[in-house]
Protein backbone atom coordinates (compact mmCIF):
# COMPACT_ATOMS: atom_id res chain seq x y z
CA UNK A 1 0.00 0.00 0.00
CA UNK A 2 1.61 3.24 -1.15
CA UNK A 3 -0.84 5.50 0.62
CA UNK A 4 -0.18 6.64 4.16
CA UNK A 5 -2.26 4.66 6.59
CA UNK A 6 -5.07 6.56 8.27
CA UNK A 7 -5.75 6.25 11.95
CA UNK A 8 -8.64 7.64 13.98
CA UNK A 9 -8.58 7.82 17.75
CA UNK A 10 -11.85 8.32 19.63
CA UNK A 11 -11.45 9.07 23.34
CA UNK A 12 -12.99 11.61 25.68
CA UNK A 13 -9.72 12.18 27.59
CA UNK A 14 -7.67 14.88 25.95
CA UNK A 15 -4.52 13.50 27.52
CA UNK A 16 -4.98 10.10 25.88
CA UNK A 17 -5.50 11.72 22.47
CA UNK A 18 -2.45 13.91 22.91
CA UNK A 19 -0.15 11.14 24.01
CA UNK A 20 -1.32 8.85 21.19
CA UNK A 21 -0.62 11.62 18.69
CA UNK A 22 2.84 12.11 20.16
CA UNK A 23 3.71 8.43 20.20
CA UNK A 24 2.50 7.72 16.68
CA UNK A 25 3.83 10.92 15.12
CA UNK A 26 7.12 9.15 14.39
CA UNK A 27 5.35 6.63 12.12
CA UNK A 28 4.16 7.44 8.65
CA UNK A 29 0.51 7.82 9.59
CA UNK A 30 -2.23 10.31 8.93
CA UNK A 31 -3.99 10.72 12.27
CA UNK A 32 -7.29 12.30 13.32
CA UNK A 33 -8.80 12.45 16.77
CA UNK A 34 -12.33 12.81 18.12
CA UNK A 35 -13.35 13.73 21.67
CA UNK A 36 -16.65 11.83 21.68
CA UNK A 37 -18.54 9.06 19.97
CA UNK A 38 -20.71 11.21 17.72
CA UNK A 39 -17.78 13.18 16.37
CA UNK A 40 -15.88 9.89 16.02
CA UNK A 41 -18.55 8.23 13.90
CA UNK A 42 -18.82 11.36 11.78
CA UNK A 43 -15.07 11.36 11.17
CA UNK A 44 -15.03 7.64 10.47
CA UNK A 45 -17.47 8.30 7.66
CA UNK A 46 -15.59 11.23 6.16
CA UNK A 47 -11.99 10.27 6.83
CA UNK A 48 -12.34 6.54 6.09
CA UNK A 49 -9.55 5.39 8.39
CA UNK A 50 -7.75 2.07 8.20
CA UNK A 51 -7.63 1.62 11.94
CA UNK A 52 -9.83 3.15 14.64
CA UNK A 53 -9.08 3.22 18.36
CA UNK A 54 -12.23 3.54 20.45
CA UNK A 55 -12.47 4.19 24.15
CA UNK A 56 -15.20 1.95 25.45
CA UNK A 57 -16.20 4.23 28.29
CA UNK A 58 -17.20 7.66 27.11
CA UNK A 59 -19.99 10.03 28.00
CA UNK A 60 -22.66 10.30 25.30
CA UNK A 61 -22.83 7.38 22.95
CA UNK A 62 -20.82 4.45 24.24
CA UNK A 63 -17.85 2.77 22.63
CA UNK A 64 -20.05 -0.22 21.80
CA UNK A 65 -22.46 1.92 19.84
CA UNK A 66 -19.52 3.54 18.06
CA UNK A 67 -18.23 0.07 17.12
CA UNK A 68 -21.62 -0.86 15.70
CA UNK A 69 -21.86 2.32 13.66
CA UNK A 70 -18.34 1.80 12.29
CA UNK A 71 -19.33 -1.72 11.26
CA UNK A 72 -22.20 -0.21 9.32
CA UNK A 73 -20.00 2.39 7.65
CA UNK A 74 -17.33 -0.06 6.53
CA UNK A 75 -16.91 -3.51 8.04
CA UNK A 76 -13.33 -3.72 6.76
CA UNK A 77 -12.13 -0.96 9.09
CA UNK A 78 -10.04 -2.49 11.86
CA UNK A 79 -11.19 -1.41 15.31
CA UNK A 80 -9.19 -1.59 18.52
CA UNK A 81 -10.81 -0.77 21.84
CA UNK A 82 -9.06 1.23 24.54
CA UNK A 83 -10.09 0.14 27.99
CA UNK A 84 -9.20 0.54 31.64
CA UNK A 85 -8.05 -2.49 33.61
CA UNK A 86 -11.37 -2.62 35.37
CA UNK A 87 -13.23 -3.16 32.13
CA UNK A 88 -11.28 -6.04 30.54
CA UNK A 89 -14.57 -7.95 30.49
CA UNK A 90 -16.14 -5.43 28.18
CA UNK A 91 -13.04 -5.53 25.97
CA UNK A 92 -13.66 -9.22 25.44
CA UNK A 93 -17.27 -8.46 24.66
CA UNK A 94 -16.17 -5.84 22.15
CA UNK A 95 -13.91 -8.34 20.46
CA UNK A 96 -16.75 -10.79 20.22
CA UNK A 97 -18.64 -8.07 18.40
CA UNK A 98 -15.88 -7.67 15.84
CA UNK A 99 -13.19 -5.48 17.41
CA UNK A 100 -9.77 -6.70 16.34
CA UNK A 101 -7.93 -6.23 19.64
CA UNK A 102 -7.89 -4.20 22.82
CA UNK A 103 -5.40 -1.86 24.43
CA UNK A 104 -5.53 -1.71 28.23
CA UNK A 105 -4.87 1.64 29.90
CA UNK A 106 -2.30 2.66 30.91
CA UNK A 107 -0.18 1.56 27.97
CA UNK A 108 3.44 2.13 27.07
CA UNK A 109 4.44 3.85 23.81
CA UNK A 110 5.79 0.56 22.49
CA UNK A 111 2.54 -1.22 23.21
CA UNK A 112 0.64 1.42 21.25
CA UNK A 113 3.09 1.30 18.32
CA UNK A 114 2.99 -2.48 18.21
CA UNK A 115 -0.79 -2.74 18.29
CA UNK A 116 -1.06 -0.01 15.64
CA UNK A 117 1.28 -1.89 13.33
CA UNK A 118 -0.67 -5.09 13.88
CA UNK A 119 -3.94 -3.31 13.22
CA UNK A 120 -2.61 -1.93 9.96
CA UNK A 121 -1.30 -5.34 8.90
CA UNK A 122 -4.73 -6.75 9.61
CA UNK A 123 -6.40 -4.05 7.56
CA UNK A 124 -4.08 -4.81 4.63
CA UNK A 125 -4.93 -8.49 4.84
CA UNK A 126 -8.65 -7.76 4.95
CA UNK A 127 -8.42 -5.53 1.90
CA UNK A 128 -6.26 -8.00 0.02
CA UNK A 129 -8.68 -10.82 0.74
CA UNK A 130 -11.53 -8.69 -0.51
CA UNK A 131 -9.62 -7.75 -3.65
CA UNK A 132 -8.80 -11.40 -4.33
CA UNK A 133 -12.40 -12.38 -3.82
CA UNK A 134 -13.54 -9.70 -6.23
CA UNK A 135 -10.95 -10.77 -8.74
CA UNK A 136 -12.18 -14.33 -8.48
CA UNK A 137 -15.73 -13.17 -9.14
CA UNK A 138 -14.60 -11.14 -12.13
CA UNK A 139 -12.63 -14.06 -13.52
CA UNK A 140 -15.68 -16.21 -13.16
CA UNK A 141 -17.81 -13.69 -14.98
CA UNK A 142 -15.27 -13.10 -17.71
CA UNK A 143 -14.66 -16.79 -18.11
CA UNK A 144 -17.85 -17.02 -20.11
CA UNK A 145 -16.74 -14.40 -22.58
CA UNK A 146 -13.22 -15.75 -22.83
CA UNK A 147 -14.27 -19.32 -23.39
CA UNK A 148 -16.96 -18.28 -25.84
CA UNK A 149 -14.54 -16.39 -27.96
CA UNK A 150 -11.38 -18.38 -27.61
CA UNK A 151 -12.85 -21.85 -27.83
CA UNK A 152 -16.22 -21.60 -29.42
CA UNK A 153 -15.50 -19.33 -32.31
CA UNK A 154 -12.59 -21.27 -33.87
CA UNK A 155 -14.64 -24.44 -33.57
CA UNK A 156 -17.62 -22.73 -35.12
CA UNK A 157 -15.41 -21.53 -37.99
CA UNK A 158 -14.16 -25.06 -38.61
CA UNK A 159 -17.72 -26.29 -38.59
CA UNK A 160 -18.79 -23.56 -40.98
CA UNK A 161 -16.07 -24.57 -43.45
CA UNK A 162 -17.16 -28.18 -43.19
CA UNK A 163 -20.76 -27.18 -43.82
CA UNK A 164 -19.82 -25.26 -46.91
CA UNK A 165 -17.56 -28.03 -48.20
CA UNK A 166 -20.10 -30.78 -47.76
CA UNK A 167 -22.70 -28.48 -49.32
CA UNK A 168 -20.57 -27.98 -52.42
CA UNK A 169 -19.43 -31.56 -52.64
CA UNK A 170 -22.77 -33.14 -51.86
CA UNK A 171 -23.20 -34.61 -55.34
CA UNK A 172 -19.59 -35.75 -55.68
CA UNK A 173 -19.00 -37.60 -52.42
CA UNK A 174 -19.45 -41.33 -52.09
CA UNK A 175 -21.81 -42.47 -49.39
CA UNK A 176 -18.81 -43.47 -47.33
CA UNK A 177 -17.16 -40.10 -47.63
CA UNK A 178 -20.45 -38.40 -46.87
CA UNK A 179 -20.68 -40.48 -43.72
CA UNK A 180 -17.21 -39.40 -42.60
CA UNK A 181 -18.09 -35.78 -43.21
CA UNK A 182 -21.16 -36.20 -41.07
CA UNK A 183 -19.16 -37.78 -38.27
CA UNK A 184 -16.72 -34.87 -38.22
CA UNK A 185 -19.61 -32.45 -38.07
CA UNK A 186 -21.34 -34.42 -35.33
CA UNK A 187 -18.24 -34.60 -33.17
CA UNK A 188 -17.52 -30.91 -33.53
CA UNK A 189 -21.14 -30.18 -32.76
CA UNK A 190 -20.90 -32.28 -29.59
CA UNK A 191 -17.76 -30.45 -28.56
CA UNK A 192 -19.44 -27.10 -28.98
CA UNK A 193 -22.43 -28.31 -27.02
CA UNK A 194 -20.09 -29.42 -24.26
CA UNK A 195 -18.45 -26.01 -24.05
CA UNK A 196 -21.87 -24.45 -24.00
CA UNK A 197 -23.04 -26.64 -21.13
CA UNK A 198 -19.93 -25.97 -19.08
CA UNK A 199 -20.32 -22.28 -19.62
CA UNK A 200 -23.84 -22.41 -18.37
CA UNK A 201 -22.96 -24.43 -15.29
CA UNK A 202 -20.18 -22.05 -14.42
CA UNK A 203 -21.70 -18.70 -15.19
CA UNK A 204 -25.41 -18.93 -14.66
CA UNK A 205 -26.64 -17.66 -11.36
CA UNK A 206 -29.47 -20.06 -10.74
CA UNK A 207 -30.93 -17.98 -7.94
CA UNK A 208 -31.58 -15.12 -10.34
CA UNK A 209 -34.13 -17.14 -12.30
CA UNK A 210 -36.47 -16.76 -9.33
CA UNK A 211 -36.99 -13.14 -10.30
CA UNK A 212 -38.91 -14.24 -13.39
CA UNK A 213 -41.05 -16.94 -11.84
CA UNK A 214 -44.53 -17.14 -13.30
CA UNK A 215 -47.27 -19.77 -13.43
CA UNK A 216 -45.90 -22.38 -15.78
CA UNK A 217 -47.74 -25.18 -17.51
CA UNK A 218 -46.27 -28.66 -17.10
CA UNK A 219 -47.64 -29.99 -20.43
CA UNK A 220 -45.93 -27.09 -22.22
CA UNK A 221 -42.63 -27.75 -20.45
CA UNK A 222 -42.79 -31.42 -21.35
CA UNK A 223 -43.72 -30.91 -24.99
CA UNK A 224 -40.98 -28.35 -25.47
CA UNK A 225 -38.46 -30.69 -23.88
CA UNK A 226 -39.58 -33.60 -26.04
CA UNK A 227 -39.45 -31.42 -29.13
CA UNK A 228 -35.84 -30.64 -28.33
CA UNK A 229 -34.71 -34.22 -27.68
CA UNK A 230 -36.81 -35.92 -30.34
CA UNK A 231 -34.43 -35.52 -33.29
CA UNK A 232 -31.73 -37.35 -31.36
CA UNK A 233 -34.19 -40.02 -30.25
CA UNK A 234 -35.50 -40.58 -33.77
CA UNK A 235 -31.96 -41.07 -35.05
CA UNK A 236 -31.47 -43.75 -32.41
CA UNK A 237 -34.90 -45.24 -33.08
CA UNK A 238 -36.03 -44.54 -29.54
CA UNK A 239 -39.66 -43.62 -28.94
CA UNK A 240 -40.43 -40.98 -26.33
CA UNK A 241 -43.90 -41.56 -24.90
CA UNK A 242 -45.65 -39.05 -22.71
CA UNK A 243 -48.60 -39.44 -20.39
CA UNK A 244 -49.64 -36.23 -18.72
CA UNK A 245 -52.62 -36.06 -16.37
CA UNK A 246 -55.30 -33.85 -17.94
CA UNK A 247 -55.89 -31.51 -15.03
CA UNK A 248 -52.28 -31.34 -13.92
CA UNK A 249 -51.47 -28.35 -11.71
CA UNK A 250 -49.22 -25.64 -12.99
CA UNK A 251 -46.08 -24.73 -11.03
CA UNK A 252 -44.51 -21.42 -10.18
CA UNK A 253 -41.35 -21.28 -12.17
CA UNK A 254 -39.24 -20.29 -15.11
CA UNK A 255 -40.28 -22.14 -18.22
CA UNK A 256 -36.93 -21.93 -19.99
CA UNK A 257 -34.87 -23.50 -17.24
CA UNK A 258 -37.56 -26.07 -16.42
CA UNK A 259 -37.48 -27.18 -20.04
CA UNK A 260 -33.68 -27.33 -19.79
CA UNK A 261 -33.89 -29.53 -16.69
CA UNK A 262 -36.29 -31.95 -18.35
CA UNK A 263 -34.24 -31.92 -21.56
CA UNK A 264 -31.13 -32.89 -19.59
CA UNK A 265 -32.79 -35.91 -18.03
CA UNK A 266 -34.69 -37.04 -21.11
CA UNK A 267 -31.55 -36.46 -23.19
CA UNK A 268 -29.59 -38.72 -20.85
CA UNK A 269 -32.32 -41.33 -21.00
CA UNK A 270 -32.05 -41.35 -24.79
CA UNK A 271 -28.26 -41.30 -24.73
CA UNK A 272 -28.01 -44.30 -22.43
CA UNK A 273 -30.80 -46.39 -23.96
CA UNK A 274 -30.39 -49.06 -26.60
CA UNK A 275 -31.78 -48.47 -30.07
CA UNK A 276 -35.37 -49.55 -30.46
CA UNK A 277 -36.27 -49.03 -26.82
CA UNK A 278 -38.48 -46.31 -25.40
CA UNK A 279 -38.47 -43.57 -22.81
CA UNK A 280 -41.61 -42.95 -20.77
CA UNK A 281 -42.45 -39.52 -19.40
CA UNK A 282 -45.37 -39.25 -17.01
CA UNK A 283 -46.68 -36.26 -15.11
CA UNK A 284 -49.20 -36.47 -12.28
CA UNK A 285 -50.54 -34.53 -9.34
CA UNK A 286 -49.58 -35.84 -5.91
CA UNK A 287 -51.51 -33.95 -3.21
CA UNK A 288 -49.98 -30.51 -3.35
CA UNK A 289 -47.12 -31.54 -5.57
CA UNK A 290 -46.55 -32.24 -9.22
CA UNK A 291 -44.40 -35.22 -10.12
CA UNK A 292 -42.69 -35.79 -13.43
CA UNK A 293 -41.08 -39.18 -13.91
CA UNK A 294 -38.74 -40.14 -16.69
CA UNK A 295 -38.20 -43.85 -17.11
CA UNK A 296 -35.86 -45.60 -19.50
CA UNK A 297 -34.73 -49.13 -20.30
CA UNK A 298 -31.14 -48.03 -20.61
CA UNK A 299 -27.90 -49.23 -19.14
CA UNK A 300 -28.80 -48.00 -15.66
CA UNK A 301 -26.51 -46.51 -13.08
CA UNK A 302 -24.30 -48.59 -10.82
CA UNK A 303 -24.76 -48.27 -7.08
CA UNK A 304 -21.17 -46.94 -6.92
CA UNK A 305 -22.05 -44.04 -9.16
CA UNK A 306 -25.57 -43.37 -7.94
CA UNK A 307 -24.73 -41.13 -4.97
CA UNK A 308 -22.56 -38.84 -7.08
CA UNK A 309 -24.47 -38.31 -10.30
CA UNK A 310 -25.78 -34.88 -9.29
CA UNK A 311 -22.32 -33.51 -8.52
CA UNK A 312 -20.44 -31.11 -10.76
CA UNK A 313 -18.10 -32.67 -13.30
CA UNK A 314 -18.97 -36.22 -12.35
CA UNK A 315 -19.14 -38.79 -15.11
CA UNK A 316 -19.44 -42.47 -14.57
CA UNK A 317 -16.23 -44.40 -14.29
CA UNK A 318 -17.70 -47.80 -14.67
CA UNK A 319 -18.51 -47.88 -18.35
CA UNK A 320 -16.30 -47.31 -21.31
CA UNK A 321 -18.61 -48.24 -24.13
CA UNK A 322 -21.01 -45.36 -24.23
CA UNK A 323 -20.66 -41.71 -24.96
CA UNK A 324 -19.46 -39.64 -22.04
CA UNK A 325 -21.50 -36.77 -20.71
CA UNK A 326 -20.24 -33.31 -19.87
CA UNK A 327 -20.50 -34.13 -16.18
CA UNK A 328 -22.47 -31.01 -15.38
CA UNK A 329 -25.87 -31.61 -16.94
CA UNK A 330 -27.39 -33.33 -13.95
CA UNK A 331 -25.72 -31.00 -11.47
CA UNK A 332 -27.24 -28.06 -13.30
CA UNK A 333 -30.57 -29.87 -13.49
CA UNK A 334 -30.60 -30.43 -9.75
CA UNK A 335 -29.83 -26.78 -9.11
CA UNK A 336 -32.62 -25.69 -11.42
CA UNK A 337 -35.10 -28.01 -9.73
CA UNK A 338 -34.07 -26.89 -6.26
CA UNK A 339 -34.35 -23.25 -7.23
CA UNK A 340 -37.99 -24.11 -7.97
CA UNK A 341 -38.44 -25.50 -4.48
CA UNK A 342 -38.53 -29.01 -5.89
CA UNK A 343 -36.36 -32.06 -5.64
CA UNK A 344 -35.09 -34.81 -7.88
CA UNK A 345 -34.55 -38.44 -7.02
CA UNK A 346 -33.41 -41.45 -8.99
CA UNK A 347 -33.85 -45.18 -8.81
CA UNK A 348 -31.62 -47.29 -10.93
CA UNK A 349 -29.83 -50.56 -11.23
CA UNK A 350 -27.10 -51.45 -13.64
CA UNK A 351 -28.66 -53.03 -16.71
CA UNK A 352 -32.18 -52.37 -15.51
CA UNK A 353 -32.76 -48.82 -16.66
CA UNK A 354 -33.27 -45.70 -14.61
CA UNK A 355 -36.23 -43.75 -13.28
CA UNK A 356 -35.83 -40.08 -12.40
CA UNK A 357 -38.54 -38.34 -10.47
CA UNK A 358 -38.87 -34.57 -10.34
CA UNK A 359 -41.21 -33.08 -7.75
CA UNK A 360 -42.37 -29.50 -7.58
CA UNK A 361 -44.75 -27.67 -5.29
CA UNK A 362 -47.97 -27.28 -7.26
CA UNK A 363 -49.68 -23.99 -7.88
CA UNK A 364 -53.14 -24.96 -6.69
CA UNK A 365 -56.39 -23.00 -7.08
CA UNK A 366 -54.86 -20.82 -9.67
CA UNK A 367 -55.97 -22.01 -13.06
CA UNK A 368 -53.21 -21.19 -15.46
CA UNK A 369 -54.00 -18.34 -17.75
CA UNK A 370 -52.77 -18.88 -21.21
CA UNK A 371 -49.97 -16.42 -21.25
CA UNK A 372 -48.58 -15.07 -24.54
CA UNK A 373 -45.77 -17.62 -24.21
CA UNK A 374 -48.22 -20.48 -24.20
CA UNK A 375 -50.20 -19.04 -27.06
CA UNK A 376 -47.10 -18.62 -29.09
CA UNK A 377 -46.19 -22.20 -28.39
CA UNK A 378 -49.59 -23.44 -29.40
CA UNK A 379 -49.37 -21.54 -32.65
CA UNK A 380 -46.00 -22.99 -33.44
CA UNK A 381 -47.02 -26.58 -33.04
Amino acid sequence: MEKRCKILIIDDEEIVLDSCLQILSGGDYEIRTAGNGILGVDLAEKFRPDVIFVDLKMPGISGFEVLEKIQEIDPTIVTIVITGFATIGSAVEAMQKGAFDFLPKPFTPDELRLITRRGIEKRKLVLETLALRREKELLREHFAAIVSHELKSPLAAVQQYLYSLSNELSDQLTEDQQHRFERIQTRIGDLMQLIHTWLRAITVDIESIKENFAPTSIPVVISKAVESVDPHAIRKDIAIRTAVQDDIFPVLGDEGTLVEAVVNIVGNAVKYSPAGSHVEITAKNFDDEVAITIEDDGIGISSDDLPFIFEDFYTSRSDKQIEKGSGVGLALTKRIIEAHGGNVSVESELGEGSTFELRFPALINQPIELSPINNEFMNKT
Binding site: A157, Q160, L165, L199, R200
Partner: protein, 142 residues
Protein backbone atom coordinates in the same frame (compact mmCIF):
# COMPACT_ATOMS: atom_id res chain seq x y z
CA UNK B 1 -33.60 -16.88 -60.06
CA UNK B 2 -33.99 -14.39 -62.89
CA UNK B 3 -32.05 -11.49 -61.39
CA UNK B 4 -29.41 -12.38 -58.87
CA UNK B 5 -30.24 -11.24 -55.39
CA UNK B 6 -27.50 -9.12 -53.89
CA UNK B 7 -26.47 -9.68 -50.30
CA UNK B 8 -24.04 -7.85 -48.05
CA UNK B 9 -22.22 -9.63 -45.27
CA UNK B 10 -20.56 -7.73 -42.42
CA UNK B 11 -18.38 -9.86 -40.17
CA UNK B 12 -14.86 -9.30 -38.90
CA UNK B 13 -13.92 -12.97 -39.06
CA UNK B 14 -12.85 -13.99 -42.59
CA UNK B 15 -13.16 -17.61 -41.51
CA UNK B 16 -16.89 -17.17 -41.30
CA UNK B 17 -17.28 -14.93 -44.28
CA UNK B 18 -15.60 -17.35 -46.67
CA UNK B 19 -17.62 -20.49 -45.99
CA UNK B 20 -20.91 -18.63 -45.62
CA UNK B 21 -20.28 -16.75 -48.87
CA UNK B 22 -19.47 -20.06 -50.54
CA UNK B 23 -22.81 -21.54 -49.50
CA UNK B 24 -24.72 -18.47 -50.65
CA UNK B 25 -22.88 -18.12 -53.95
CA UNK B 26 -23.37 -21.79 -54.59
CA UNK B 27 -27.07 -21.14 -54.27
CA UNK B 28 -26.94 -18.34 -56.82
CA UNK B 29 -26.66 -15.23 -54.67
CA UNK B 30 -24.25 -12.41 -55.28
CA UNK B 31 -22.45 -11.58 -52.04
CA UNK B 32 -20.31 -8.62 -51.03
CA UNK B 33 -18.35 -8.81 -47.82
CA UNK B 34 -17.06 -6.13 -45.47
CA UNK B 35 -14.87 -6.93 -42.55
CA UNK B 36 -15.56 -4.02 -40.27
CA UNK B 37 -18.75 -2.25 -39.23
CA UNK B 38 -17.88 1.18 -40.59
CA UNK B 39 -17.03 0.00 -44.08
CA UNK B 40 -20.04 -2.25 -43.94
CA UNK B 41 -22.36 0.61 -43.10
CA UNK B 42 -20.91 2.72 -45.91
CA UNK B 43 -21.38 -0.14 -48.36
CA UNK B 44 -24.95 -0.62 -47.24
CA UNK B 45 -25.71 3.06 -47.76
CA UNK B 46 -24.16 3.26 -51.23
CA UNK B 47 -25.25 -0.08 -52.67
CA UNK B 48 -28.67 -1.56 -53.02
CA UNK B 49 -28.86 -4.87 -51.25
CA UNK B 50 -31.69 -7.32 -50.88
CA UNK B 51 -30.44 -8.53 -47.52
CA UNK B 52 -27.78 -7.89 -44.91
CA UNK B 53 -26.02 -10.65 -43.02
CA UNK B 54 -24.71 -9.06 -39.87
CA UNK B 55 -22.39 -10.42 -37.23
CA UNK B 56 -23.81 -8.76 -34.21
CA UNK B 57 -20.85 -8.91 -31.85
CA UNK B 58 -17.91 -7.66 -33.81
CA UNK B 59 -14.67 -6.58 -32.23
CA UNK B 60 -14.70 -5.07 -28.79
CA UNK B 61 -18.06 -4.62 -27.22
CA UNK B 62 -20.90 -4.99 -29.62
CA UNK B 63 -20.22 -2.87 -32.66
CA UNK B 64 -22.55 -5.00 -34.72
CA UNK B 65 -25.39 -4.01 -32.45
CA UNK B 66 -24.55 -0.33 -32.86
CA UNK B 67 -24.72 -0.79 -36.62
CA UNK B 68 -28.03 -2.62 -36.36
CA UNK B 69 -29.40 0.26 -34.28
CA UNK B 70 -28.14 2.83 -36.78
CA UNK B 71 -29.81 0.95 -39.59
CA UNK B 72 -33.01 0.71 -37.59
CA UNK B 73 -33.02 4.51 -37.19
CA UNK B 74 -32.64 5.14 -40.91
CA UNK B 75 -35.91 5.54 -42.84
CA UNK B 76 -34.57 3.92 -45.98
CA UNK B 77 -32.03 1.41 -44.70
CA UNK B 78 -34.43 -0.12 -42.23
CA UNK B 79 -36.36 -1.65 -45.13
CA UNK B 80 -33.42 -3.98 -45.82
CA UNK B 81 -34.01 -7.29 -44.07
CA UNK B 82 -31.23 -8.36 -41.71
CA UNK B 83 -30.13 -11.84 -40.82
CA UNK B 84 -28.31 -11.42 -37.55
CA UNK B 85 -25.60 -13.98 -37.06
CA UNK B 86 -24.13 -14.46 -33.64
CA UNK B 87 -21.63 -16.72 -31.98
CA UNK B 88 -23.19 -16.14 -28.61
CA UNK B 89 -26.88 -16.57 -28.21
CA UNK B 90 -26.55 -16.40 -24.46
CA UNK B 91 -24.90 -13.03 -24.49
CA UNK B 92 -27.59 -11.59 -26.66
CA UNK B 93 -29.96 -12.30 -23.82
CA UNK B 94 -27.61 -10.58 -21.36
CA UNK B 95 -27.49 -7.51 -23.55
CA UNK B 96 -31.22 -7.33 -23.87
CA UNK B 97 -32.73 -8.58 -20.66
CA UNK B 98 -36.40 -9.33 -20.88
CA UNK B 99 -36.22 -10.04 -24.60
CA UNK B 100 -35.77 -13.77 -24.65
CA UNK B 101 -35.63 -14.29 -28.37
CA UNK B 102 -33.82 -11.34 -29.84
CA UNK B 103 -34.33 -7.67 -30.21
CA UNK B 104 -35.97 -6.43 -33.33
CA UNK B 105 -33.72 -3.87 -34.95
CA UNK B 106 -35.58 -3.44 -38.22
CA UNK B 107 -39.06 -4.57 -39.33
CA UNK B 108 -37.70 -7.73 -40.93
CA UNK B 109 -34.91 -9.47 -39.09
CA UNK B 110 -34.03 -12.78 -37.61
CA UNK B 111 -31.26 -14.27 -35.55
CA UNK B 112 -29.23 -17.39 -36.15
CA UNK B 113 -26.28 -18.85 -34.38
CA UNK B 114 -22.86 -19.66 -35.78
CA UNK B 115 -22.11 -22.11 -37.27
CA UNK B 116 -25.08 -22.09 -39.63
CA UNK B 117 -26.17 -25.20 -41.49
CA UNK B 118 -26.47 -24.56 -45.23
CA UNK B 119 -30.13 -25.54 -45.52
CA UNK B 120 -31.12 -23.37 -42.58
CA UNK B 121 -29.08 -20.45 -43.88
CA UNK B 122 -30.61 -20.59 -47.34
CA UNK B 123 -34.10 -20.98 -45.97
CA UNK B 124 -33.75 -17.96 -43.66
CA UNK B 125 -32.22 -15.83 -46.37
CA UNK B 126 -34.97 -16.54 -48.90
CA UNK B 127 -37.74 -16.17 -46.32
CA UNK B 128 -36.46 -12.82 -45.12
CA UNK B 129 -36.08 -11.51 -48.65
CA UNK B 130 -39.59 -12.64 -49.48
CA UNK B 131 -41.00 -11.07 -46.31
CA UNK B 132 -39.32 -7.77 -47.07
CA UNK B 133 -40.61 -7.80 -50.64
CA UNK B 134 -44.14 -8.49 -49.47
CA UNK B 135 -43.84 -5.68 -46.96
CA UNK B 136 -42.70 -3.36 -49.68
CA UNK B 137 -45.53 -4.35 -52.01
CA UNK B 138 -47.99 -3.86 -49.19
CA UNK B 139 -46.75 -0.37 -48.38
CA UNK B 140 -46.86 0.59 -52.05
CA UNK B 141 -50.49 -0.47 -52.14
CA UNK B 142 -51.38 1.76 -49.20
Amino acid sequence: MDTKKKLLMIDDDPDFVEPIMAILENAGYEVDAKYNPDEGFEALKSGSYDLLLLDVLMGRGAEGIMIARKIGDDEKLRETPILIITGMREQIAFLFPGQPVHPSFVPTDELIEKPVEPDLLLEKVSTLIKMAEERKAQSELN
